[in-house]
């Protein structure tokens, strides 16, 4: 729901990195997004297309998205399992003493520049 907001954050960070590295043009930005981060990829792409047009440094920049699978760890049986399939309850032992190990990320992985 906050896709446009995070796109603005990404652009801000990309511009900062570009400045440090004497970049004249950003061609592509790759994001790593957790499976349960709540970000809708289609909305993110739409927001991206709209927002980058306003930036001369990255007006045509492509957006690549890589997904980080969500994994939850069970504190009782010390095993992990896929979050999307089983949610909060451990499928191995039925415990609710579980926490998300990965899957909530929103990371700028790299950027292809000139």
């Amino acid at each position: 729901m906050h896709e446009l907001g995070v796109v603005f954050y990404v652009i801000r960070d990309v511009k900062a990195v570009a400045e440090e590295n004497d970049v004249t043009r950003v061609d592509c930005v790759t994001l790593e997004i957790g499976e349960v981060s709540g970000v809708v990829h289609e909305l993110l792409r739409d927001a991206w297309k709209w927002a980058v047009k306003k930036e001369s440094l990255m007006a045509d920049a492509e957006l690549e998205i890589e997904t980080i699978p969500a994994v939850t760890f069970c504190e009782d049986c010390k095993r992990d399992y896929p979050t999307v399939e089983y949610g909060k309850t451990c499928p191995h032992c039925g415990s609710n003493h579980t926490f998300l190990v990965q899957g909530n990320e929103f990371i700028i992985k790299d950027m292809q520049v000139e």
């Binding site: 954050y9 909530n104 520049v113």
Partner: protein, 227 residues
Amino acid sequence: MGDVRVIEVKQSVFAENDRRADALRAELKAHGTFLLNLMSSPGSGKTTTLAATFKALRGRLNMAVMEADIDSDVDARAMDELGVRAIQLHTGGMCHLDADMTAQGLRGLEALATPDAPIDLAILENVGNLVCPAEFDTGASANAMILSVPEGDDKALKYPLMFEVCDVVLINKIDVLPYFDFNLERCRERILMRNPHAKIFPICAKTGEGIEPWADWLVASVRAWQA
């Protein structure tokens, strides 16, 4: 065309906001101002709850409120009558507030404060939404949310992150419990499943029922923050 190269960034998009939020929290601590980030769905009774809370705390704490939505129905004059300074924050169409927007609001509040009446408790009324505000650290000392009875007792199942980040859950509109299929115990269990440390206060902002324990919690939290 220049040389094409790839720059490794490996940076969380939330990292910068988190840094700014931590800096704001430190600044608030130094000022002795406890900032409560209040979140909820639209229509959960935030404004009524704020009014009831301010009434209960009148004379005990110096308070201020920041309204995050542009067309808020909170009347600043009504807040004034309760001894509360209010300012409006503009989110620029965003679905949430971040640490920078909060810091701007606080600077606005400080301009309203006087040296003999520093702000003990500032409440940030976040945008009505159970998804986005949970993702962004505003720099608050504590997070609270209001869940109202008509919304259903399954909200903690549907919006996990919101319940994980909240220190306090106010279950509002308990006066209408008999008319809804809302099980208070089941709701409590579901909240605690998401967040075993959550403090849960069933309240009715309209009648004032349950407001006192919540107000006491606020006073204790503010004093601990200022200690």
